[in-house]
């Protein structure tokens, strides 16, 4: 754009504001992430932190929120992009107006943000899920993936790593990925997609669902159907949602990182950017409160921590 969209307001100075724009409001996983974010924002010294966002996770729905934040002169925008490109122009305008952009959870196009706070190394997330499913189905048989939306940046990246791994790792040579379906992070849709998988693929041995809504809905379907105990399920889930299914044997093991840490680190990264301590270049380091020092890697990537595997033995220890 031309000129300075934020008008004279950027000079207001002093007020250090941070705004989180999640994919969608009123989503339990998001709430945990944002809880960590708020905590981090306070500890990092922001005078005010806000959460704004759409009620539905569609590609373009975040843009007008970014615009409003741009105009409000917000110093740091932390965003989980619904679409890597749709938010780019708006983020560009925000940066012109002086805002620092932290992507978290789901990346934007790397040109449009300063850093990306990633849960874990994408490849690690993919590998742990293939490992879990392989263990649960005994190393051979048909499997399927039930993902979120077809465009979800993070899920698609993991799925790519999973496919590569299944193809290249000799341990998995007997495992066949027969289908990829999308539940759109909608409970009902995911539920019915799970159902469809069973019918379309009578020999299905296992399902990977790398999304919290999807894994819970699939678990619900399996636990209420004849397939309970016959078809294995793993993926990324919230312990609080998955507890009954782990206890009733529908799900043996699944994985997730601590979502709160994601928001927490993002807030500190924002503070570091704002203060000019880092620029997002590889090698920059900043302190993320109680989590200690973090380093910016290639491509502006900041890794939060390794995933945890949950099962009957440990699930009661977690509350998120």
């Amino acid at each position: 754009g031309s000129g300075n969209p934020a008008g004279g307001d950027s000079a207001a100075g002093g007020d250090a504001t941070i705004t989180f724009i999640p994919k969608q409001l009123n989503n339990p996983y998001t709430d945990v992430v944002l809880g960590g974010g708020k905590k981090g924002a306070t500890e990092a010294g922001f005078t005010s932190s806000n959460v704004v966002g759409p009620l539905e996770a569609s590609a373009s729905s975040q843009v007008s929120f970014i615009n409003a934040e741009t105009q409000a002169g917000t110093k740091v925008i932390v965003i989980a992009a619904n679409d890597p490109d749709a938010v780019c122009t708006a983020l560009g305008e925000a940066r012109t107006a002086g805002a620092k952009i932290v992507a978290f959870d789901s990346d934007t196009n790397p040109d449009c943000r300063d850093v990306f706070i990633s849960q874990v190394v994408a490849k690690d997330v993919a590998l742990i899920q293939t490992k879990l499913i392989s263990e649960q189905i005994g190393g051979s048989g048909e499997i399927a993936i039930l993902s979120a939306t077809a465009n979800a940046t993070n899920q698609n990246e993991w799925i790519k790593f999973m496919e590569d791994e299944l193809a290249s790792n000799p341990d998995y040579k007997d495992i066949k990925l027969v289908a990829k379906v999308y539940g759109d992070d909608n409970d009902t849709k995911s539920f019915q997609e799970a159902q469809g998988l069973m019918q379309a693929h009578p020999n299905l041995k296992g399902i990977i669902s790398p999304t919290t809504v999807g894994i819970a809905a699939t678990a619900r379907y399996l636990s209420t159907s004849a397939y309970k105990g016959k078809v294995a399920l793993t993926g990324l889930g919230l312990p609080n949602e998955m507890r009954p299914f782990v206890k009733d044997g529908t799900v043996k093991e699944f994985a997730l990182w601590d979502p709160a840490q994601l928001g927490y680190v993002a807030a500190f990264a924002g503070e570091a950017l704002k203060a000019g301590k880092i620029t997002g270049a590889a090698g920059d380091t900043f302190t993320a409160g109680e989590l200690g020092e973090r380093k910016v890697q290639d491509g502006g990537l900041v890794i939060v921590g390794p995933p945890t595997v949950f099962n009957t033995a440990n699930i009661d220890k977690y509350d998120f």
Partner: protein, 323 residues
């Protein structure tokens, strides 16, 4: 005229703009104009043919799906290496073809538009999925995408508004100042009586759906280039937003009544309310609730008003009779 529903919406818009400019910090600035207008352009565009269609007593629920299909087509063609101008022309044509399809079913076969366009809402969105699948295409020419977010100097008004204004004027003149428009109002009240004065009911409807398809395609193109992202789910759910705005603008869902200025006010009222709430970081929860309440109020208020007048009138009549 001054108390009609479209006039009320126009007053409401004026009052709200004044209120927001005074009490919401930063609202009164060219930046607002720019962002706000960019946000409302798709609704504004589609609301034009929608107004005419609702005035004839019909409806088109498939508009957002047409926009989505247009977007998907753009993505696939561009990714396939076609010249961008050809891509735009073909995409527009896709919208026109969708409109012809709707128009054929509704005007030629005489099927009920509400039912038909629920069907084509699913069909066109489905075709968008078939076309582009789960891919997204984002690498449109920079010059073009920049143009779609550029502003007219310091006014903050987006450059594309010039085109949008042309569309608005076109439909406004068509509805209010041409024999064709007169015919639409007549049709809206009574198709049979309209046919008797030589109004070509079926043909008029047909062209309205074609226009709706074409304008929805324009909205789809705008959407794709503004957000630099061609996806199958672009603009999904927009149909209800458009209809809400049109109804808020004083158009009667039964047909026969309504005006372009009213609809313009309806769209801008929802748009500016939306933007003001976002500036104030008020949750979207409030926005959808307020939109719903406004819509209900806009139709209920006049009837409450007339009920009160009627009640007063009877009381006076009884009073006089008693004397």
């Amino acid at each position: 005229m001054l108390a009609s529903r479209d006039a009320i919406t126009i007053y409401a818009l004026a009052v709200f703009l004044v209120y927001a400019s005074i009490s919401i910090p930063r609202f009164a600035s060219p930046v607002t104009t720019g962002f706000l207008l960019l946000d409302v352009i798709p609704v504004l565009l589609i609301a034009m043919p929608m107004t005419l269609i609702i005035i004839t007593g019909e409806i088109d629920l498939s508009v957002a799906s047409i926009a989505g299909l247009t977007s998907a087509t753009m993505g696939v063609l561009w990714a396939g290496g076609m010249d961008i101008w050809l891509v735009l022309a073909i995409s527009l044509l896709v919208g026109v073809v969708c409109g012809i399809f709707n128009g054929f079913l509704i005007a030629v076969l005489g099927l009920p538009s509400l039912a038909v366009t629920i069907g084509t809402l699913a069909l066109f969105r489905g075709l968008a999925l078939v076309t582009i699948g789960d891919n997204a295409v984002a690498n449109f020419p920079k010059s073009l995408t920049a143009f779609f977010t550029s502003k007219l100097g310091a006014t903050g008004i987006p450059t594309v508004m010039i085109g949008v204004v042309v569309v608005i004027i076109f439909f406004g003149v068509l509805l209010h100042f041409t024999p064709f428009g007169r015919g639409l109002f007549g049709m809206g009240y009574s198709k049979e009586a309209a046919a008797f004065v030589g109004i070509k009911v079926a043909r008029s409807k047909f062209w309205l759906y074609v226009a709706s398809g074409a304008v929805s395609a324009l909205a789809g193109i705008f959407w794709t280039l503004r957000y630099t992202s061609a996806r199958s789910d672009n603009a999904s759910g927009l149909e209800l937003a458009v209809i809400a705005a049109v109804l808020l603008g004083g158009v009667s869902i039964f047909g026969g009544k309504g005006s372009i200025p009213g609809v313009l006010a309806g769209v801008l009222l929802i748009g500016s309310l939306n933007y003001a709430l976002r500036l104030g970081r008020v949750s979207d929860v409030v926005l959808i609730t307020v939109t719903g309440l406004l819509l209900i109020l806009s139709v209920v208020a006049p009837s409450i008003g007339s009920a009160i007048r009627g009640w007063r009138h009877t009381r006076r009549a009884h009073h006089n009779a008693a004397q």
